[in-house]
């Protein structure tokens, strides 16, 4: 994994940043070497993206920096905008998180890649030739130059962004969460591409990510960032082995939840789907899916985007009709026509902690909304308080609005809302996917505790294999509308039978187990 030690390319020395007086970064020092990959890891709001923007001179208005960024003989923090124009794209290139919006929708990819070359006065024909070459280099050989971004997939668009960033052979490439928006198999391909580029072109790569698995597999050096400061930095293996800083230990523990011990659940079906098929016109989103969820069980449903898991979720919640097959909840049929009393026995927690609540409603009203199904009981207020206390909040939160809570707290409110009608089944639709790892660990612990205490059955839908392994008793792997494989969690992870499952597992970024064994510090 270790690359050869290289020549120092860029040295960030005690950089501090304040935006409109608010301190964002303090005393950040980093050294980037040619031919090596440096991982910058941190949770959201830790300042890692601002560090990147400082490196390419695109800090927002109102920024004030102290310290220096040395590259060759210049201090980048002292450059005027005109001088930056000669550096951006030429010495330093950058790719961003969201490939879907990072390309101009009304220009062809050929025009966008060649534009950066044309800046240097390269002729049009030559620029297009090099653009072709770069697109070939990033694995887009079969894609013509006259395609528009919307005609490409997310992974392909990210490759175009990479081609565009490396078109002028910069010495430093900054990648800000380059794979966060992508599926795990696409992520693995993009990470491989980045690694090859660094080795072939001898450039330095600053890889910014929240995912420790990604840096473990790719980076030579890692810096851990928290609240605008670097708390620990070392070569990758040493950092993972020693874990000198308590924050690093926290982060690692949260990112690597312990696999769920195997157990057998008494067969007592609460939710069953029998060869369910859902079509939209010519597209079959869900294709003959059968599943059974037992009382007290946590059933994981894993799949990449577009595999049909969202459609299946809506069908299981009785929000959409199915064309074939049937769904039953405690022996009663599920569908758009189901009674309110039946609906009260199943509820759901969604992914987005921001979109899950009407911003104009108080927590009191939000949490009690499901009483629409049962009629408002006399003790509604008391039950709302109980639900909040169950998820670690208090009666004092009833009169607050959603925006007054953090992402993790909002997911707790969403769980309280889901529990208020005392349902038997809880559908968790990517319920922890938007959370930082440490918050995620807390919410997972809460969910586990609630399941045991209240005897709930969970259908846990996610794209994240690590999480599934930590919470699920059984796992269903879904691919293009069908269930590819089904079995006890340990079996699926240790002896995957289906090719697709194997591909998923192989693609998932992991920290080598030997680095984590024992406490070596």
């Amino acid at each position: 994994m270790e690359g050869p030690p290289g020549k120092t390319l860029l040295r960030m020395a005690s950089l501090s940043l304040a935006i409109h007086g608010t301190p964002i970064l303090s005393d950040v020092s980093l050294t980037l070497e040619e031919g090596r990959i440096t991982g910058l890891v941190g949770e959201s709001g830790s300042g890692k993206s601002m560090t990147a923007l400082a490196l390419i001179g695109l800090l927002p208005k109102g920024s004030a920096t102290t310290g220096a960024i040395h590259m060759d003989d210049t201090d980048l923090t002292q450059l005027a905008e005109r001088q930056w124009l000669g550096i951006r794209g030429n010495d330093i290139g950058m790719i961003f998180q969201e490939p879907m919006t990072a390309l101009n929708p009304v220009q062809t990819i050929g025009a966008q890649v060649s534009e950066t070359l044309r800046l240097r006065g390269t002729s049009r024909a030559e620029a297009l030739r090099i653009a072709r070459e770069k697109l070939d280099r990033v694995g887009l050989g079969p894609i013509p130059l006259d395609r528009y971004p919307h005609e490409l997939s997310g992974g392909q668009r990210q490759r175009v962004c990479i081609a565009l960033a490396i078109a002028r052979r910069p010495r430093l490439l900054i990648a800000d969460e380059p794979t966060t928006a992508l599926d795990v198999t696409t992520q693995a391909q993009i990470l491989d591409l980045l690694r090859d580029l660094v080795r072939d072109e001898g450039m330095a790569l600053l890889l910014i990510t929240h995912d420790l698995g990604v840096v473990a597999g790719l980076a030579d050096e890692v810096a851990v960032m928290k609240d605008g400061a670097i708390v620990e930095a070392d070569t990758t293996e040493a950092l993972f082995r020693t874990r000198a800083h308590p924050y690093t230990r926290d982060l690692l523990a949260a990112a690597q939840p312990k696999p769920r011990p195997a157990r057998t659940v008494e067969p007592a079906p609460v939710l069953t789907a029998d060869t369910v098929t859902r079509r939209y016109g010519a597209l079959t989103a869900v294709d003959g899916v059968s599943l059974t969820l037992h009382r007290g069980e946590c059933l994981g449903l894993v799949g990449e985007s577009g595999c049909g898991k969202s459609t299946l979720t809506r069908a299981l919640l009785g929000l959409e009709p199915v064309q074939e097959g049937s769904i039953a909840l405690l022996d009663r049929p599920v569908g758009p026509a189901m009674t309110r009393a039946d609906r009260a026995r199943i509820s759901v927690v969604f992914q987005d902690p921001y979109g899950s609540f009407d911003p104009r409603w108080t927590v009191r009203r939000l949490v009690q909304e499901p009483f629409h199904l049962t009629g408002k009981p006399a003790d509604a207020e008391a039950r709302a308080i109980t639900a909040l206390e169950q998820v670690g909040l208090s009666a004092g939160d009833l009169d607050k609005y959603p925006h007054e809570f953090s992402g993790g707290q909002r997911q707790r409110i969403a769980i309280a809302r889901a529990l208020i009608t005392a349902p038997e089944v809880l559908v968790l639709d990517e319920a922890v996917s938007a959370l930082d790892v440490r918050v995620r660990a807390q919410v997972l612990a809460l969910l586990n505790d609630l399941r045991v205490r209240l005897g709930l059955a969970y259908l846990f839908i996610t794209h994240d294999l690590t999480v599934v392994r930590a919470v699920a008793d059984r796992v269903l792997v879904m691919q293009t509308g069908r269930i590819a494989e089904e079995g006890p969690t340990a079996d699926i992870f240790e002896r995957p039978a289906h090719d697709y499952t194997r591909a998923l597992l192989a693609a998932a970024p992991t920290i080598p187990a030997k680095w984590l064994r024992g406490d070596q510090h």
Binding site: L85, G86, T101, A102, P105, V106, E115, T116, A165
Partner: protein
């Protein structure tokens, strides 16, 4: 693409049919018999009947609609009740004033709005932005006919640079253009204010997009990014507004023609109304509606060309 074009054309034709029915029905609701009105109180019943035949007022409701709509298609707009000449001839005379006026105003609108919007968006929060925003805020609030009156007062009454109204005809193009200049300015100012604000808003929205950051990261200057990446993406909302503005310019022209005593379609409609020459009103209104629907159609085509995503959708 061809099929999408056909669908659009069919919907265009449908809009025209519905519009013509609405206009026809509305004008049928006017009480009184135009023939009797024209001939006065002492007219003989058979003279009235003869005139009715001449004016195409015979037959049932549907029959008359078909006769009128069919006539419109072949360029026969009916016969004016007042002047006893084909409406088409009247229109042909007047359109030579109204169409150039609307185009002149449209041109001025774009010429004023484009630099103003660009300036305000790229200097966001600076003095020039505040200046443009303040001026356009005022420009929107000024009724164009009042602005026209002020222009007349200043340039015709006080400075005596131009005559207060009238139209010398196209035999002297210079004089004709001069006569249209004040009306065009009066029409263009409020529309330019709106367009400049829309352009500024659209540009600011696109300048916040991720692909602008990408363009900056590859080394494009702020100005090059704005011109090459933001402007074309901002074109879609701007084109939409421009299409709507054509309709406002037409309507505005009707009123402005009255301020400047220009013999255009607007004057024709008003004469038609005061003289109860309903066939003129009916046909000219239909013509204006046709113009607006056709422009809307052209605008839709234009932004299909501006946005490849729509091209794809249209082709599907």
């Amino acid at each position: 693409m061809a099929r999408a074009l056909l669908t659009r054309l069919i919907s265009l034709a449908l809009s025209l049919v519905v519009a013509s029915v609405v206009i026809f029905v509305m004008l049928q609701a006017v009480p009184g018999d135009p023939a009797a009105f024209m001939l006065g109180l002492n007219a003989q019943p058979d003279t009235i009947a003869a005139l009715r035949a001449e004016l195409g007022l015979q037959g049932g409701f549907v029959q008359r609609y078909i006769a009128w709509a069919g006539g419109m298609l072949t360029g026969d707009f009916g016969t004016s009740y007042t002047y006893r000449v084909p409406v088409a001839d009247l229109v042909a005379d007047r359109i030579g004033v109204s169409a150039p006026l609307a185009l002149y105003a449209l041109l001025l609108t774009v010429l004023i709005a484009l630099p103003a919007g660009l300036l305000a968006a790229t200097r966001r929060g600076q003095a020039s932005d505040w200046g443009v925003m303040g001026a356009t805020q005022l420009g929107i609030a000024v009724p164009n006919f009042w602005f026209a009156m002020l222009l007349v007062f200043l340039f015709a009454v006080k400075l005596r640079w131009v005559s207060a109204g009238g139209f010398p005809g196209w035999s002297d193009p210079g004089a004709a253009l001069l006569a249209l200049t004040l009306p065009a300015v009066a029409l263009a100012l409020p529309q330019a204010s709106i367009l400049a604000r829309v352009l500024r808003g659209a540009l600011i929205d696109t300048l916040d997009q991720d692909y602008i950051r990408t363009a900056r990261a590859k080394g494009l200057s702020r100005r090059a990014t704005t011109i090459r990446h933001a402007l074309r993406n901002a074109a879609i909302p701007v084109l939409t507004i421009l299409g709507l503005q054509f309709s406002f310019l037409l309507a505005g022209a009707i009123i402005i023609e009255n301020v400047f005593f220009l013999p255009g379609l607007g004057r024709l409609i008003f004469q038609g109304i005061t003289q109860r020459d309903l066939i003129v009103v009916q046909s000219v209104t239909m013509l204006l509606v046709f113009a607006v629907i056709a422009v809307t159609f052209a605008v839709e085509l234009a932004y299909t060309l501006a946005d490849p995503r729509l091209r794809r959708r249209a082709a599907r």
